[in-house]
């Protein structure tokens, strides 16, 4: 509990002269969910990519505490070991489910495949687990053999979540998990994510521009602007008593239905 799961120090990434993100430092503890908000181009996706092992930072370090309680530097290890880590200990929920799913194989195969990738071989066991996860994410199990291309946007997103969680990741990175969905579908997905995060005690980093998402899902919040973190703290405190001018602008710009 007192050792962070993820320790980020002085993280930065520039694209030539253009700045992605700069000097980001924080620690994420087991069971904690951190939200990152900011407008388009504020560097939040660059930050998420650097944190999740997909984009090498130009400055700083990302350290992670493995299941074996070993603190490892994510970008000092070999590419092969990093890929193994990403596959076995992390999950990544993308905004567009089609980028993460394999559209040419069945829903069941999409959920079962990550299990095979970590060495599971018993077909019956894999199928049973896939069924259990489809049920968890509220997809009727009689759709198990259907192709994802026959699913609605909300179902695709829930299928992606099942595909991610089936291997019991310890840390999940989410990029706009409710983006591009109808409001009613968003509410259902949010409620589902909230339940999964609480029940499974997941640690997660959620990037979004939707303040309702961070209020419901996250414990802590980082507000980014022009590539830097301008304000951070307990989520409800940052939203209800924002101090930085940019955070105040963000909070006051939300339309009340």
């Amino acid at each position: 509990m007192n050792t962070p799961l993820l320790r980020v120090a002085g993280l930065g990434r520039s694209y030539g002269a253009r700045l992605g993100c700069r000097d980001v430092s924080f620690e994420l503890y087991p069971g904690e969910v951190i939200g990152v908000v900011g407008e388009s181009g504020s560097g939040k996706t660059t930050l998420l990519d650097c944190l999740s092992g997909r984009l090498e930072p130009s400055a700083g370090t990302v350290e992670y505490l493995t299941r074996q309680s070993e603190m490892v530097d994510v970008y000092a290890m070999s590419e092969a070991r990093r890929r193994l880590l990403m596959r076995t200990e992390w999950g990544a929920v993308r905004q567009n489910a089609r980028d993460a799913l394999r559209m040419g194989v069945s829903a069941g195969a999409n959920v079962g495949e990550p299990l095979m990738a970590v060495g599971r071989r018993h077909y019956g066991g894999i199928r049973a687990e896939a069924e259990a996860w489809l049920d968890q994410v509220e997809i009727s199990t009689d759709r198990i053999d259907d192709l994802p291309s026959t699913f609605s946007g909300g179902m695709l997103q829930r299928l992606q979540i099942a595909r991610n969680l089936v291997t019991h990741p310890r840390l999940v990175f989410m990029d706009e998990p409710t983006g591009g969905l109808d409001v009613s579908v968003q509410a259902r997905l949010l409620d589902l994510l909230h339940r999964l995060v609480v029940d499974l005690g997941l640690s997660a980093i959620v990037v979004t521009h939707d303040l309702a998402v961070v209020r419901l899902l996250t414990h802590r919040l980082m507000v980014m602007r022009h590539g830097t973190v301008v304000e951070e703290g307990l989520t409800d405190q940052v939203l209800d008593d924002p101090h930085h001018p940019y955070t105040q602008l963000l909070v006051s710009s939300v339309l009340q239905p």
């Binding site: 259902r188 409620d191 609480v198 419901l216 802590r220 008593d241 930085h244």
Partner: protein, 231 residues
């Protein structure tokens, strides 16, 4: 009496950057203590900072200066400087808060909204729901509503669900922001009884009670607050 919460030297000024940097001073050098079994009422006109002070105690509002020490898990922790996860642990185990409005989650039933504080403490779901049912019944929420999400409830019903949730876990410190504001006489009496029982069992209560009868019935002490004049 065991002191459970003590605030000293608290100062708060809201700075509204989107409105030309307008400064709204709320309080300077505010102090407050509450001991086990005591109910401290914050009293003063609108704008005197009662809700802001309560929110500071809960860590929802960040003071510019001062300390707020809370007895938690055998030690004193300063809410003002504590990291977010320490504040969340305090909210889970030590300090509850009943706001003026319920913030509900789509699709979660009233029963589970009330049971949640017990669930996060690791209570089995049956135990948590039994306690939640008892509270909802005491607060006169009809049983046919228990399985529905409170978003569609009336203002008074939502407020009573919110109160039930606040009392569910029986935490050592309880902050109440106008808990009886939209309630009729019968339900006001039910809330008064809950507060008196909490005091009797050793809870330290800090609250804003607009209703004079409620305040005079539950308060052990009254802390007077008055609006600050901008310098």
């Amino acid at each position: 009496m065991t002191r459970l919460i003590a605030a000293a030297g608290l100062a708060k000024t809201y700075v509204l950057h989107v409105q030309g940097g307008t400064e709204i001073p709320v309080f300077a050098d505010a102090e407050l203590t509450a001991a086990a079994g005591e109910c401290v009422a914050l009293h003063g006109p609108s704008g005197s900072g009662k809700s802001t002070l309560l929110r500071c105690l809960y860590g929802n509002c960040k003071p510019d200066a001062g300390r707020i020490e809370v007895s938690h898990d055998g030690s004193e922790i300063d809410i003002v400087s504590a990291p977010p996860r320490a504040i969340l642990a305090i909210r889970k185990q030590t300090m509850g808060y009943v706001s003026q409005f319920l913030r509900s989650i789509p699709r979660v039933s009233a029963l589970d909204v009330v049971a949640e504080p017990l669930r996060v403490l690791g209570q089995p779901i049956e135990t948590a729901r039994a306690r939640a049912s008892a509270l909802l019944a005491r607060l006169n929420i009809p049983e046919r509503l228990w399985q529905l999400a409170p978003a569609t409830f009336s203002g008074g019903e939502q407020q009573r669900v919110n109160i039930a949730r606040g009392f569910a876990a029986g935490l050592p410190i309880l902050l109440l922001d106008e808990p009886t504001a939209s309630l009729d006489a019968v339900n006001r009496r039910a809330v008064i009884d809950l507060i008196l029982e909490a005091k009797a069992s050793g809870t330290a209560v800090v609250g804003v009670f607009h209703d004079d009868v409620v305040r005079e019935t539950v308060a052990t002490r009254v802390v007077a607050m008055k609006p600050m004049v901008a310098a």
